[in-house]
Symmetry: C2
Subunit: 137 residues, 2 copies
DNA sequence: TATTGTTATACTCTATAACTATA
DNA sequence: TATAGTTATAGAGTATAACAATA
């Protein structure tokens, strides 16, 4: 299972979809997480997607530079900065996911019915994942 | 389609499977290619998987260090070096693919029958890809 | 003293450019 | 002079460690 990931096709599809909107997969993953839980402290973002806090700083810096997300102060704790998407961030995420949904060329090996079947199975897995579900919802 | 790649689950599964045998995905992809066409010149390997020749040098260096592949002189052209797997290389590739075939935890969202269905669809795609087909038999 | 976020730094994987040897 | 492979260098993406501000 998942030998497909080694084909380069799948990776290429992912990178092209993200690249078309000027982002890389880490950015899109972040946009999905922020959409799911807007106003979350940066520390919580690091916990959610199991990376270091410094990487959250990097990603949020880059999303802010592109006008896709904004930092906001926390009401009662001045150490904390929360993150939310801008309208442009929402649009950009939607566009990236749209591109991602298009079947990659390697799926030409399947009939149209099989492609639908595969998509339904993948959607079912996505629906069980909190982040994916929120973004694809 | 392929939003799954963003979950981290799929990437994590791939990296864990490769990491368990001390390799990264690029190495495993190389082992698959070499198994498919043993004795290919390094230049041809670069063409096959669409990367620069220098990266082939790097990967083959690392496979040789680990005793998984060997360079051999070409019969009639002394510029050319061909590459073949060692017995250990074959075993290591088989082990990596075995790990890769185990369904990742995110597949728990599917019934056993659905998991089989999904595996069959992915295998059908793999069978249409020359490299994947050779390695997965 | 513990926690949030940042800065500085380093590591992994891959690409580009300059080079050597052979054809 | 063209081609095969290597070496040296650089880049993207991500992690680790030291730090500043606040609790």
């Amino acid at each position: 299972m998942f030998e497909l990931l080694l084909s380069g096709e799948a990776q290429g599809h992912l990178h092209r979809a993200c690249g078309t909107v000027g982002l890389h997969p880490g950015h899109v993953k972040a946009l999905m997480q922020i959409k799911r839980e807007p106003g979350l402290p940066m520390r919580a973002l690091a916990d959610r997607w199991a990376c270091d806090a410094s990487y959250v700083t990097t990603i949020v810096d880059e999303l802010e530079e592109r006008g896709l997300a904004t930092r906001h102060p926390h009401a009662s704790d001045r150490r904390i900065k929360t993150v939310a998407l801008t309208a442009n961030g929402v649009r950009t995420l939607d566009r990236a996911l749209e591109l991602l949904y298009e079947p990659p060329s390697s799926f030409g090996a399947l009939t149209a019915a099989e492609q639908r079947e595969l998509r339904d199975l993948l959607r079912k897995i996505a629906a069980a994942d909190p982040v994916l579900d929120a973004a694809t919802g």
